[in-house]
């Protein structure tokens, strides 16, 4: 019995080491000394690629927290304050600072902060009105909340050494599935069973309609997945690319080139952060329009 357990343990250890080699070090380090795991490799010199280590969720406090990135990650419970908690809270704080504290005066001649807030408000208001029409303006606060929150979460993630919360599918899926369930329930509440006309193309030839209905149904249920994966994937990819070029900066010959490349990609990422927040908000408007006017 004892020997059996020992064999199992050895096997597990070997397998674990194998997994670490496969997942973390195949990207470029390839050094046997680094093969202990992703965290031990931080101390090794030379070209070390760990583009995805920046997305590890760590507790704020204790060994293995965000101030001890070389330690293994301790267990995380639902109540543990992590770096995700911190940066999501900071995003909410920024929104509150801009729209509650900054626009507190409600002046006729706005202050600088208030005019930035009014700019966001007017932009989103026009977007909802253009896509959903006048009756969609009832749901403008929801779209505004999503847009501003994602915008600030994206931009805060671009601060060096910060944590990109919207790169986690867990964060964006909550937002995306929230829109999906909200819009579906709203569609049935407003239109009753005639909401199903969304899937029944009345312009198409009759024999094609069942086929189109199946395709429409599938595409309807893929919506929340693509809605959330688009945001998370864009942010993940952008940050990972920056980290790959940052690893190239360890090599003296290419380091000037890589610094220039990081600068250029950072500029692109600022653009992407804004565009993805805009795209998330405008797709919410498009889905909302379907719930308001289901008949094609």
């Amino acid at each position: 019995m004892a020997s059996h357990t020992a064999t199992e343990t050895t096997e597990a250890v070997t397998h674990g080491a194998d997994g670490a080699v496969m997942s973390a070090d195949a990207v470029g380090a390839g050094d046997a000394a680094v093969a202990h795991g992703a965290d031990a490799a931080h101390d090794a010199g030379g070209l070390v690629f760990h583009p995805l280590d920046q997305f590890i969720v760590r507790p704020i406090f204790g060994d293995g927290g965000i101030f001890h990135p070389s330690m293994p990650v301790p267990p995380i419970h639902w109540y543990t304050p992590t770096n995700v908690t911190l940066w999501l809270a900071l995003a909410v704080l920024c929104v509150v600072l801009l729209f509650v504290v900054g626009s507190r005066g409600r002046a006729t001649i706005p202050s600088r902060v208030q005019s930035v807030g009014e700019l966001f408000y007017g932009f989103t208001h026009k977007m909802v009105e253009d896509v959903c029409g006048k009756e969609g303006l009832k749901y403008f606060p929801y779209v505004m909340t999503l847009f501003v929150f994602i915008l600030f979460a994206n931009f805060l993630g671009l601060i060096p050494m910060s944590f990109a919360t919207t790169s986690h599918i867990a964060v964006t899926a909550v937002l995306g599935f929230g829109v999906f369930f909200g819009v579906t329930i709203l569609g049935f509440v407003l239109n009753g069973p005639s909401f199903l006309k969304l899937f029944w193309m009345s312009e198409a030839p009759l024999f094609l309609r069942p086929i189109i209905a199946i395709i429409e149904l599938i595409s309807y249920f893929v919506r929340p997945v693509s809605h959330s994966v688009r945001l998370a994937g864009n942010i993940t990819a952008g940050h990972a690319v920056m980290k790959v070029f940052a690893a190239f900066a360890g090599l003296a010959i290419v380091s000037p080139l890589s610094v220039v490349a990081i600068t250029a990609i950072y500029g692109l990422e600022v653009l992407v952060a804004g565009i993805q927040a805009y795209v998330f908000a405008i797709l919410t408007c498009v889905y909302l329009k379907d719930a308001l006017h289901p008949a094609h």
């Binding site: 080699v21 496969m22 997942s23 195949a26 390839g30 995805l52 977007m127 253009d130 896509v131 693509s226 994966v229 688009r230 994937g233 864009n234 993940t236 990819a237 565009i275 805009y278 795209v279 405008i282 797709l283 498009v286």
Partner: protein, 78 residues
Amino acid sequence: MEGDIASMGQFLGAGLAGIGTGLAALGVGNVAGNYLAGALRNPSAAASQTATLFIGLAFAEALGIFSFLIALLLMFAA
């Protein structure tokens, strides 16, 4: 680098999924290029169609992101 045939398949699959990213680039370029061509012929109508442009870009780009996701799943979750 050592490894078994399964991890070789993983890396090959992840590399092949990278082709999808390039194909998404074709789609995004097609959307943006056609928008620009239309906008230069009728500049007065261009501003009203920027929202449609971004929706089209988002749909084209999402499929490229899916292939990136498949690459990540093969590398780290398979």
